[in-house]
């Protein structure tokens, strides 16, 4: 018989100042799920901050009437934390938009490090459109 599963759902207006509180709630969830300390303090918060700021600035273009939804849950098998960030935008091409920001010509750019960092920090990054554009971050537990 499968065990109890808990998911946290958070909805915020398109305002970058809301990001920190969302990250705090998901961080708390990470710690309760006994995910490695470094993933709780660095990988998840930074990857989620990137996904949220892209959703607010790129997906919703800071339109105050649009919302961003975050859903943090554990996979059915119980071995993964899955965080979905959904905006009201039309979606984008994840592989084509991911820049290698470590090459000499990109190193001194001010922007373009978000998707790259997400890829580095979590085990899987996926993007799909399904009633809104969703970026899914998957992190191995333990």
């Amino acid at each position: 018989m499968r065990k109890m599963r808990v998911a946290l759902e958070i909805e915020i207006p398109s305002d970058v100042h809301e990001i920190e509180r969302v990250v705090e709630l998901v961080q708390k969830e990470c710690r309760q799920l006994k995910i490695e300390p470094e993933k709780c303090s660095l990988n998840v918060p930074v990857a989620l901050t990137e996904a949220l700021s892209n959703a607010i600035l790129r997906g919703n273009r800071e339109d105050a009437s649009k919302y961003v939804r975050v859903r943090a849950s554990v996979s059915k098998a119980g071995d993964m934390l899955v965080v979905d960030v959904t905006d009201e935008g039309a979606g984008f091409d994840l592989p084509a938009s991911t820049l290698n920001c470590t090459t000499p010509e990109n190193l001194e750019r001010e922007d373009g490090r978000g998707l790259y960092l997400m890829q580095c920090l979590v085990d899987r990054v996926e993007q799909f459109v399904d009633g809104g554009n969703t970026v899914r971050l998957t992190v191995q537990r333990g």
Binding site: S41, V46, L57, E110, G112, R113, G114, Y116, L121
Partner: protein, 110 residues
């Protein structure tokens, strides 16, 4: 989250308390540019009280470093914890900045 700026000798020292992310990076940028405009040349950002930094926070550091160099000055960093070191290594920004393990060493290094 807050930024504290003080002068130590010829050096402008900035403490970043909390996260350096998309929601507050403009504030850091403006504070440092104001000092640059007043003629300051040597800047040290101390991260001993910083949680995490996102890509736009890193972007502000890169752009400040460039602007300060254009004015003949220099930006150095100190006290990156293990998480922040990882972040600088992943983005290879550890090759772009001079990073010290302590504030004292950073201040002496100018």
């Amino acid at each position: 989250m807050s930024f504290t700026i003080r002068k130590q000798g010829e050096i402008v020292v900035v403490d970043v308390e909390g996260q350096l992310i998309v929601g507050n990076r403009q504030e850091l940028k403006q504070k440092v540019l104001d000092e640059l405009e007043k003629g300051e040349k040597r800047f040290l950002i101390d991260f001993s009280q910083t949680g995490y930094i996102d890509s736009s926070g890193l972007g502000v550091l890169v752009s400040l470093s460039k602007k300060i160099r254009e004015q003949g000055g220099e930006l150095r960093l100190a006290n990156l914890n293990d998480d922040l070191k990882t972040l600088f290594e992943l983005t290879k920004l550890d090759t772009l900045f001079q990073i010290s393990d302590s504030r004292e060493r950073a201040l002496e290094s100018f």
